[in-house]
């Protein structure tokens, strides 16, 4: 019987992160694809599966990405799929790719993402244009009132603080812990700025009360890629220890905040329970975590929904730098979206960092003897989510 563990992550790569407005999106995309295949010891000749968008270009490339990619690489694909979990769509593609490989529908699957150039909309380098584009993403029942993505998450934070006594200082702990990881990550955009303190977060500019500038992810460009293959093939290639999925789950729950039954817990619980159930792993066995951190409050809500602590106890859970490398549950050790990169389908970098940790290739960021990792990605305002338990095979 096919099992998720029959597929493994074979290669990973990331480009420079930051301002790539002088490059084309396609050049960054292919740089990442070729580098991840090289990391795996494979070439495009081995590839027969793909996840997500083709590189940008004219015509129907956006609508029919599988065909566009075949044009680019010179041979057809046996498998193409797209996930729709917002910024976690490509990382959620790891689950789709594992299922395809385990069932023999593909041998080698490429999962890339990239943003660069001077594109319009949220992927561009024009901050004001990106903010305006994002402001109208919701329905008129939201955007009329001057919502922003920060405001969308600020109301979650305010409700959480009201119900559970969560404090702004506790949220700041998350930003501080992640920045420390960024200072140890040469690719992290905010790494060169150095460590920050809780006071730095608390005194940063108010964006949407109670979230301040340093509670928010950065806006930047960059790319990355994951390559997956049969676990036996990764072992034969011998480049890296295979990293496998032990469990996978998704939770798709609520789009319009007017309709969500509550705003402090989402379908992430469904995703996590499915993933941990399939994996047969306990929460306290996880060595390192990677969870979507568009804002500090996300991390807290996701860790609660994932079951690392009870609902409402997230504030206490993250205190004392528990998420820092060396802490109780090192989380987003690369610096996350807050301090490393928030480019394109950025959840892919969350997964790439966990792969580096489980390979024991994370350098100064290495979590000692990491064997099991937990990934949790959200799209939108936690509308739709995935959860994964990963293992060093």
């Amino acid at each position: 019987m096919a099992a998720l563990q029959d597929a493994a992550i074979a290669g990973v790569a990331m480009s420079q992160q930051g301002d790539l407005s002088d490059r084309t999106q396609a050049s960054v995309y292919w740089e990442c694809v070729l580098a991840a295949l090289d990391d795996a010891g494979l070439t495009l000749a081995d590839v027969d599966g793909w996840i997500g968008p083709a590189p940008e270009g004219p015509g129907l490339r956006g609508t029919l990405p599988g065909g566009a990619i075949a044009d680019d690489i010179g041979h057809p694909l046996r498998f193409h799929a797209t996930s729709a979990i917002g910024a976690s769509s490509q990382s959620a593609g790891v689950g789709l790719a594992a299922m395809a490989i385990a069932h023999g529908m593909a041998e080698v699957v490429v999962i890339p993402t990239a943003s660069a150039g001077r594109a319009a909309g949220y992927a561009g380098s024009d901050r004001a244009a990106a903010v305006e584009y994002m402001a109208r993403l919701g329905s008129p029942y939201e955007y009329l009132w001057g919502t922003t993505r920060v405001a969308d998450y600020a109301v979650l934070a305010r409700r959480h603080m009201h119900l559970y006594g969560t404090t702004e200082e506790q949220l700041a702990e998350i930003a501080v812990a992640e920045r420390y990881g960024a200072t140890l990550n040469p690719l992290a955009v905010m790494g060169p700025r150095g460590e920050i303190t809780i006071d730095d977060v608390m005194s940063s500019r108010m964006m949407a009360d109670p979230l301040k500038l340093l509670d928010c992810c950065i806006i930047n460009q960059g790319g990355g890629c994951i390559v997956m293959a049969r676990t036996s093939r990764v072992e034969e290639l011998g480049r890296h220890r295979p990293v496998v999925l032990l469990g996978w789950g998704e939770g798709h729950g609520y789009l319009d905040p007017n309709r969500a039954p509550e705003l402090t817990s989402f379908a992430g619980r469904l995703a996590a329970d499915t993933a941990f159930g399939l994996a047969g792993v306990r929460r306290d066995e996880i060595d390192v975590a990677g969870v979507s951190d568009h804002f500090t409050i996300n991390v807290l809500i996701e860790l609660e929904d994932a079951g690392f602590c009870e609902k409402g106890e997230g504030g206490a859970f993250v205190e004392g730098q528990a998420l820092r490398i060396g802490g109780r549950l090192p989380t987003n050790t690369d610096g996350g979206f807050l301090s490393s990169s928030h480019a394109a389908s950025c959840g892919l970098y969350t997964m790439i960092e966990l792969v580096r940790q489980l390979r024991h290739e994370a350098g100064p960021r290495q979590v000692a003897d990491a064997q099991l990792a937990y990934a949790h990605g959200v799209g939108g305002v936690s509308h739709t989510q995935y959860a994964a338990v990963l293992a060093r095979a």
Binding site: V131, E132, M134, A135, R136, S139, P140, Y141, E142, Y143, L144, W145, G146, T147, T148, V150, A151, A154, V155, L156, R158, R159, H162, R205, M206, M207, A208, D209, P210, L211, D256, P257, N258, R259, L263
Partner: protein, 140 residues
């Protein structure tokens, strides 16, 4: 109560099935869909009752009263029109009839807003065709 006012912010894209809601706003008496089978009110407009899955519903006026479920004070606003309004309060309000509804909470200093604050709907005519709805603290 209503006020004639200018509105430089976004205007709504009104999609099929949503027209009766905006017509009720224009009449300064918001009506929501109420399921003909189970009686549940719902917002935002949608073709199916999420509780009993009936497609039959009647647009039914609501009291306009509710209390603040959560809120934020926006300092970093998205566009010049909203930047001119900032800081402004976005409130999520639980209506007496059950659904939650988002709008700006006006006529109150941001520092006096709290979860649980009793509020009610108020309306502003922003063009000959369009009215918008806001929340304001409920008078005793």
């Amino acid at each position: 109560m209503s006020t004639e006012t200018t509105w430089e912010g976004f205007t709504p894209d009104i999609t099929p099935g949503h027209e009766p809601f905006w017509a009720s706003v224009r009449e300064h008496r918001i009506a929501l869909q109420r399921c003909d089978r189970c009686g549940t009110f719902r917002f935002i407009p949608s073709p199916l009752c999420p509780r009993c899955w009936s497609q039959e519903a009647t647009w039914t006026p609501v009291s306009g009263r509710g209390e603040v479920y959560t809120y934020t004070v926006v300092h970093r606003a998205p566009t010049p029109a909203y930047q001119a309004m900032a800081p402004y309060v976005i409130a999520h309000v639980t209506l007496e009839e059950g659904p939650r509804m988002i709008s700006q909470l006006v006529d109150v200093p941001p520092e006096e807003v709290r979860i649980g604050l009793p509020v009610e709907l108020t309306y502003r005519d922003v063009s000959p065709e369009l009215s918008l709805y806001f929340f304001t603290p409920r008078r005793p």
